[in-house]
């Protein structure tokens, strides 16, 4: 395969694979809790973290993880301690994240090119060192989301019941948002902060058109996530398009396909004589 002759492309495909696995693994719990936009909010606040990295002249990945995790924790605390769904807090995160990011970027005097590479991803510049960081973080995310799947399922399904079952609900909720923040920072390299959430949500939505249970949805969502990430990244090489956008468009195409399949299957069942 021609594509595998380029080292930068091999690194890009590995990064895409890791993100394709981790994003839906976290996203499924956010979707289950009907907080699909949480990933977006964390993505926006991560921009402030990236800018803080430039401002303080340190690695933007780590400042993004820290700021995004703090933002997520604040939204979670507001959600759990008040009776609102936390969507006003989420909105603040959206606005504050972008505004704070642009402000700090200006103060740090970085170029717009730099800003764009975080907003929309820069998959092809993934270095070997980046890959180690992404790989390590991805393993941590998978350990939490797959290892803790039964408990996370229980708290996202029915939080009150989970409390009476003796689960450490508050800890698990915070663990989930911190994991989401880590995932966002892992994925920003690949699809960019503005499209991170798409990769968390769309594979899950596509999978749940065809499945009946949670664990089946999880398995299928990870499969779809990997296929669209690797497929989209590879496709962008041949089509000469932006990898992040190509991945997301591919994911939405898969969603449309599974949606039509589900509708078709339903129609067939209806017309089949009992």
């Amino acid at each position: 395969m021609e594509i595998l002759q380029y080292d930068f492309m091999v690194r890009a495909l590995i990064a895409a694979l890791l993100v394709g696995l981790t994003a839906p693994a976290v996203g499924i719990y956010l979707v289950q809790r009907r907080m699909a936009l949480m990933g977006d909010g964390i993505g926006h606040i991560a921009l402030t973290g990236v800018a803080a990295g430039f401002f303080f002249n340190t690695s933007p990945v780590w400042t993004a993880v820290i700021v995004a995790a703090l933002g997520g924790i604040i939204v979670e605390l507001i959600r759990s301690s008040t009776r609102t769904s936390g969507d006003v807090a989420l909105a603040m995160l959206f606005y504050g994240g972008i505004a704070g990011g642009v402000l700090l970027m200006g103060l740090a005097d970085t170029s717009n090119v730099n800003l764009m590479s975080y907003l929309f991803g820069s998959l092809l510049t993934t270095s070997a060192e980046d890959l180690w960081v992404i790989g390590g973080l991805a393993m941590a995310v998978l350990a939490v989301t797959l290892g803790g799947r039964k408990m996370l399922f229980a708290i996202c399904h029915d939080e009150e019941y989970a409390k009476v079952a003796g689960l450490p609900v508050r800890f698990l909720n915070l663990l989930l948002v911190v994991t989401a923040a880590v995932t966002v920072t892992v994925a920003m390299r690949v699809v960019g902060l503005l499209l991170v959430s798409a990769l968390m949500v769309v594979p899950v939505a596509a999978a749940s058109q065809l499945t009946r249970g949670f664990m089946a949805t999880l398995a299928l969502a990870l499969t779809i996530g990997v296929l669209v990430s690797v497929g989209g990244a590879g496709g962008s090489f041949y089509l000469d398009t932006a990898p992040g956008a190509t991945i997301v468009v591919t994911a939405i195409a898969v969603f449309l396909i599974t949606g039509s399949l589900a509708a078709f299957a339903k129609a067939v069942r209806r017309w089949t004589p009992q």
Binding site: M151, A165, G166
Partner: protein, 269 residues
């Protein structure tokens, strides 16, 4: 003070305030092992609040709540408690099968690798609520009453010593209520303690050993259910079920005492 040995649920001068007015105030309740207590009262009288505060889902701002003799702050043996909430919160955005939901009832059992016992308990719980044949279906395709039965199965799957149910029979049809009563009776025979909120006792009536009526955040009545002599619980329940006596009594919103009238616990003659 009496022994706390077999005191399962206790509220001591409990007060819960959500916003301004206390939802319950100066509530004293003590439930001992093996009792089956019906919590009655009008809408908004504080039944759910009594249950939520005795399970620690809402903090008492005065007084104390205890489970199994231990103040809630120090209580950790949640595997002894099963809970059926009044209604499920925000619906799930991802499909889940009946088995998956019932399986979360096993999470109280801390042992991680106990597959066989888990599967057995889940299957028995599904049998008890008559949903064994729907085990692999997504919960969202079940009717409201069937979903309610899934929540009951989830609580039963944990094999609790104390079962707390908030209006378990709302929307559950007569036939399923009877299956449910039979299943609960089985558990009662094994010595389970039950606290259940209900508006209509229906077929559960013969299981009840004691009623507590809430009125405006206070306990208005606490004692034997009217119309039944305490005694052979199991025999009564069986007889009742065999008669197929399924009339729905009117909801009790008032004090159940009616002096000089021989009435059953619903005030019917």
């Amino acid at each position: 003070m009496e022994s706390r040995q077999d005191e399962i649920v206790a509220l001591d001068h409990a007060r819960v305030t959500y916003e301004r007015q206390p939802a319950i105030d100066d509530v004293n309740i003590s439930i001992r092992r093996g009792e089956v207590v019906a919590l009655l009262g009008a809408n908004g009288s504080g039944k759910t609040t009594v249950i939520r505060s005795s399970l620690g889902l809402v903090d008492v701002d005065h007084g104390e709540a205890r489970l199994f003799g231990t103040p809630l702050k120090r209580f950790h043996q949640w595997q002894r408690v099963g809970y059926v909430p009044q209604r499920l919160g925000a619906g799930s955005g991802v499909p889940a099968t009946v088995t998956e939901v019932v399986a979360s009832g096993r999470l109280t059992r801390k042992k991680l690798f106990n597959g066989r016992a888990d599967r057995k308990a889940i299957a028995e719980a599904l049998d008890a609520v008559g949903l064994a044949d729907r085990a692999r279906e997504p919960v969202s395709t079940l009717s409201g009453g069937q979903q309610q039965r899934v929540l009951i199965a989830r609580a039963l799957a944990g094999e609790p010593e104390l079962l707390v149910l908030d209006e378990p029979t709302v929307g559950v049809d007569a036939a399923s209520q009877q299956a449910l009563a039979a299943a609960l009776l089985d558990r009662i025979r094994t010595g389970i303690t039950m606290l259940l909120v209900t508006h209509e006792m229906g077929v559960l009536a013969p299981l009840i050993t004691r009623t507590i009526t809430m009125h405006d955040g206070h306990v208005a009545y606490d004692g034997a259910p009217h119309g039944f002599e305490p005694g052979d619980l199991a025999g009564r329940a069986d007889a009742h079920c065999e008669r197929g006596d399924l009339e729905q009594p009117p909801p009790i919103d008032e004090h159940p005492h009616a002096p000089g009238v021989t009435a059953n616990m619903w005030g019917e003659k």
